[in-house]
Structures are given as C-alpha cells and as structure tokens.
C-alpha cells in the first residue's frame, strides 16, 4: 500500500538545516494497522505529512498504492489524497462553524459526487460512528470523543483505502480513547490500512506492527500481531 525508499526531508532556514527524515525506508502492506512511535522531534509528523502528500520530500522514492507520487503536480496529489487517504488529527480539526453534516461533506465536495450520493455517504458515515441523530449540531456542542468520531466519519465518508491518524486519542480521556481505538480497529478489520502516530505504548501494542522513529530514521520495528 505504501512504500518509501530512502526518503530524505530537510527543512532549511538561512542559518540552519534540519534533517527531519534521513534515508527513511518503510513499507506498509494493504490492510495493515501500523503504529508509529518516537520521541518529540524524531520525524513522526514529517513522515505522516509526506505519507499524506501534504509535504514533498527532497530525495528518495514514495509509492502510494503503486503510484510514484514524486512526479505528481499539486492537483494530482490533492486528487490522490482525496480519493485514497483519510486523515484523523489529534485536535480533530473539525471546521467549527459547519455542522456535522457539512463537516463530513467537505472531502466529498472535492470528490465531485452528486448531492444524493454525498447525502447517502454522510448519513452512513455518521450512523457508523453513532452520531447520525446529531447531524445538525455544531462541533462545539459535542464532547471531545464525539468530535473525534465525527472526524473519523469525515475520514471514512470517501471510503479511503488508507487512514493516517496523528495521535487521534491524544486529547481524549482513557474511556473515550478506548472507544476511538476500538472504532479504528473495526475499520481496519474491514480492510482499511491504518498508520497511526501515538505516544501511548498501550495503544501501540494493540496494532499489528510498531515502528519506532529516532532522528528521522526507523530505528526499530516490532511485529505485534498478524495482519488481517
């Protein structure tokens, strides 16, 4: 599903060059649930942004679902991101002035679906996370756990094959974190590939494989369970 060969990413200022990723190699198979851990500043988020086509890299190769992304222009990368990738963020990143229905609608708008198709998908996605009854509520009217479930519904509405989660339980209490994790596991069991950055070792242990990043390189990989 994802293959990175010798990816390097350098952030340059006038005074200093920061090597966020150094000859970073990683492959993630279709249907796998991979967690990424590492200390702050190790390059986890840079890896996630490159994987999600939000940032470019300086050298190396990156194939997403067999497609070489280095040669794509912004429009093609956006299209690929819209069709194949779902994002879940630590701080949910829901648009505060849009109700839940319209929040879930955002990626579908850029996909060019008809109004009826969008409506069907939005209702299904919200039902899936148990929030269909609150479709007309604003994010501020929900708890943190509920907001993250809406963000998951938004990520799922376009039926992506690849889900990128950046510390999705970081802002939640343990009960809500467990609920969100169970939801992600359920999604993964249906065949969606998930790569999740986390600081929580207990959550990392629940994935099939844990990758530790230190100084922009994969320092350790642990096979924890058999992929679905």
């Amino acid at each position: 599903m994802l293959r990175m060969n010798k990816i390097s990413k350098v952030f340059s200022t006038d005074l200093i060059e920061t090597h966020a990723l150094r000859e970073f190699d990683l492959s993630v198979a279709e249907g796998e649930f991979v967690t990424v851990t590492g200390p702050s500043g190790s390059g986890k988020t840079t890896f996630l942004n490159i994987a999600g086509l939000l940032e470019t890299f300086n050298s190396g190769e990156y194939f997403l679902d067999g497609e070489d992304v280095a040669s794509l222009n912004d429009r093609q990368r956006s299209q690929l991101r819209n069709q194949k990738i779902g994002f879940i963020f630590q701080s949910f990143n829901l648009i505060p002035d849009l109700d839940l229905f319209d929040n879930v609608d955002v990626p579908l708008r850029y996909r060019g679906f008809s109004s009826a198709e969008r409506k069907k998908r939005i209702n299904y996605a919200l039902e899936r996370v148990g929030l269909a009854a609150r479709a007309k509520h604003l994010p501020s009217q929900l708890s943190g756990g509920q907001q993250q479930r809406v963000a998951i519904a938004r990520a799922l509405a376009g039926e992506p094959r690849f889900l990128l989660a950046d510390e999705p339980t970081g802002n939640l209490d343990s009960l809500m974190a467990r609920q969100v994790m169970e939801l992600l596991e359920e999604i993964n069991s249906e065949g969606t590939t998930i790569v999740m950055v986390t600081h929580d070792p207990s959550l990392a242990r629940r994935s099939q494989r844990n990758i530790q990043i230190i100084d922009g390189q994969v320092s350790d990989q642990q096979q924890l369970a058999q992929a679905v």
Binding site: L54, R75, S78, N82, F89, S91, P107, Y110
Partner: protein, 440 residues
C-alpha cells in the same frame, strides 16, 4: 463548486461582520468616489450632436483691428461674432443651411386664469434652419415659413411646457400670446417636446449645462425691429460709445454665434474660401485691421473641446478619484489578509481533505468577489449621493447614473476586488497545511 464557494463565502462574511463591513466600505468608498467623477466626466464628455457632429460648424472671425496681435481665445479668435458679420453671413449667397443665435429673456403672459406673467423665460433668435440643423423634434406644427426669415412676422416656436403654461394645452399652433413687453402678440407656429442638449453645444455663451432649455424661439429677422437686448456675454476690443440697441448692432462688439451645416469636405473647402474672400472684402472696408485677419470653422467636437467644456480640472479629478480607489484597495488588501489569516486552519484542513491549491484559491477569490459585489452596490449608493451633490453644487441636471454606469460600477468593483484578493488568496492557498493542522 461555485455555489458551494458562494455558500462558504456568505458564511465567512457573516462570521466576521465588522471586518467584512470594513472591507466592503473600503471598496465602496473607492468605487463611490471614482464613479461619481467618472459619471460626471462622462456626462460632460458627451457629444449630443451625434452623427451631425462633423457637419455642423461654428463660424469664427478674427474681426478686430488696431493692428492688435491677438484677441479672444488662444488661437486669436473671439468665440462670438459681431452683428454686422452675422448679418453679412446670413445674406451671403450660399446654399448651406445656417443660423445665427442669441439669447434673450422675456416676459410671457399666461392665458390661464390666476397665473401671473413670468419674466424669466429664456428665448433665442434663430433662423428657420436652426430646427433641422439641431434636430428639434416637433409635436405640433413646425418652423415658421421660409419667407419669415426674410420678411419678419411675429411667429414663434415654443416648448410643450411653455405651451401648457400659457394655454393649458400642448397643441397651441395658430394661437397667439403676449411676449417681450407683455403686449406684443406672437403666433405659435410649432410646439416641440423638449430641447435641452447637454452640453448646450449650440450656444455655449450662456452656460454649458443649463437646467432648462430655451422655451421660445423667435425669427432672427425680427432682431432689428424688436430691439431686444441680448442676455449673455458681450465683448469688445475697443472702447465704443453705445447708447442703445441700434449702437450695439453697428458696433464691433461680439455677442452672437453663427452655425452653418457643411455636409462634406467640398462644402467645407467652399465655405473656407468664402470666409477668406469675406475677410478680404471687410479689410478693404477698413475692418479686420489686425495683423492676421482670417476666418475659421469648427465642428461640434472641436467646438466643445475649444470651449473647454471638459476642463483640465475635471480630468485631474478623475485621476485623483482613481488614485483614491487605489488607496482604498490597498487598505482592502490589508483587511483581507487579516480576515484570511484567521482562516488558515480551515484552509489547511480542506487541503488535507483533498482540496487543491487552485480550489482553495478559487474559494477565497469567490469570497473576495462577493465582498466586491457588495462594495460595488454600496459604492453605487455613495456615487448617487455624490452625483446629487454635484448637481446641487453646479446647478446642472447632468451626471446621473444610467444603466451602463450601473453595470460599469459593479464590473469595476468586481475587477478591483478580485485584483485586490489575489495576494491574500495566494497567501492562503500557498501556506503549508501541515503547520496549521498540528498547531490547532
């Protein structure tokens, strides 16, 4: 996607009402000021002669003496003519339609009950050709007969408004009323709808943009008989003893205008040749004793420019108003940047969810366009107020917002706002979304 962008734009405008209002007002002030000046300029720059513009010609003569180097306008011609010259030009053996013009004020007595005589009606002495040359549209009757230009008769052509004021009806052809001294009777030969071209190119000596046109036209052949003093500019290049109207007629004072219709180049050449001969003839009679005696003809467009109907000040004002628009737009750029910076997070989320830079750019440009549209509407309101002030200030009836200016203002506002919005929209769409996704 356009309707989706419009929906988002409207939502964003409502979310930041104060900032949005400031942006709208910045655009509106610029549009209001520039459209006021452009509308005023456009009205002044209008040539009401249309396709007759290059056929109608004002005649000028450098009819001064005493070996003066120059007199009158910058080209050495006075704008008006002496009565002697007008009389000679009228009597010249030429087949071109032509007419002299001078303005007078008259008392007119209404025949309706309870209506007091009015003494503020403007009239003009003209020849019969005036009505065809300047395209006066008749409702009833027509010009006086050709013979009246030679054998004076007390006939007049009056406006519809005047006919209604005197007789209480529009069709007053054949009826008589008292004019000038309030006793002398005149018969109505024709009634016209309204004649007040803006600018009043046919006679610029009494104001460029009169609120009301002439109410009555009388045969020029009556001038010597009626001895009606002109209402307008009278100039002279030498001291003269003038004790009455007859003295003015014989004087070298210039106070009338003379128009002739020359339909082609051959006619123009023929008339110029005639003027040359006329100047020579007058010189032999002891007149035109200046160093460069000559005659000239100017078509309507040239005549309007020559008389500086649009002054340099007006052009400067248009330029200043456009500069003011630029200043307003620069301010709007700053306000838009402030407004859009608050939406960086949302733009980052949208990018992560599949929006391309182009789509984000379009979304924000639609919002700017919507602000520009509202700015244009408010600007039109301000321009209407500005034009009302101009009309009140200068006492003219020109400079009103017509449909073309209405559409022009909205297009200018849209174009200006879109240009203004390019930088802020580019800033938003080119920002790195990952920074905002993590920072929120």
């Amino acid at each position: 996607m356009f309707t989706y962008y419009c929906k988002l734009a409207w939502r964003h405008i409502l979310q930041t009402p104060a900032l949005s209002l400031l942006i709208i007002m910045a655009i509106a002030l610029g549009i209001g000021a520039s459209m006021t000046m452009i509308s005023y300029y456009k009205a002044m720059a209008h040539n009401p002669a249309g396709d007759r513009s290059d056929k109608l010609h004002a005649v000028q003569l450098a009819a001064y003496g005493n070996d003066m180097e120059t007199w009158g306008m910058s080209d050495g011609f006075p704008r008006q003519l002496t009565h002697q010259d007008v009389k000679n030009l009228r009597e010249a053996d030429l087949s071109f339609p032509s007419t002299p013009i001078y303005q007078f004020m008259t008392v007119i007595v209404s025949q309706r009950e309870g209506v007091a005589p009015s003494n503020d009606y403007a009239g003009r002495f003209v020849d019969r050709d005036f009505f065809s040359m300047f395209d006066v549209k008749f409702l009833h009757g027509g010009p006086w007969s050709e013979s009246v230009d030679e054998q004076p008769e007390n006939q007049v052509v009056i406006s519809k408004a005047l006919s209604e004021w005197i007789f209480g009806e529009v069709n007053s052809v054949g009826k008589t009323f008292a004019m000038l001294d309030g006793i002398m009777q005149f018969t109505v030969a024709g009634v016209y709808e309204e004649f007040n071209p803006q600018p009043a190119y046919y006679d610029l000596t009494t104001g460029y943009f009169p609120r009301e046109g002439a109410g009555v036209f009388a045969p020029y052949s009556l001038v010597e008989q009626l001895e009606t003093f002109p209402m307008g500019n009278i100039s002279g290049w030498q001291p003269e003893e003038v004790n009455g109207f007859k003295d003015i007629l014989k004087s070298e004072y210039v106070w009338q205008v003379f128009w002739t219709q020359l339909d082609n180049e051959a006619a123009k050449a023929q008339y110029k040749e005639f003027l040359k001969g006329y100047v020579e003839q007058q010189r032999e009679l002891g007149r035109f004793a200046n160093q460069n005696p000559r005659g000239d003809i100017k078509d309507v467009e040239t005549w309007l420019n020559y008389n500086e109907v649009i002054s340099e000040d007006n052009r400067v004002m248009v330029g200043m108003s456009l500069l003011f628009l630029l200043v307003c737009l620069v301010n709007a750029v700053g306000l838009l940047l402030a407004k859009f910076m608050r939406k960086m997070n949302e733009a980052g989320v949208r990018r992560a969810l599949g929006a391309s830079k182009g789509q984000i750019f379009s979304q924000y440009l639609v919002e700017v366009g919507m602000l520009g549209f509202f700015g244009g509407l408010v600007g039109l309101l301000l321009a209407s107020i500005g034009l009302w002030a101009v009309r009140e200030l200068y006492g003219t009836d020109i400079a009103r917002l017509d449909f073309s200016l209405f559409i022009g203002a909205l297009l200018l506002s849209l174009l200006a706002s879109l240009l203004t919005g390019i930088l802020p929209a580019l800033r938003v769409c080119n920002s790195n979304p990952s920074i905002f996704l993590k920072a929120q």
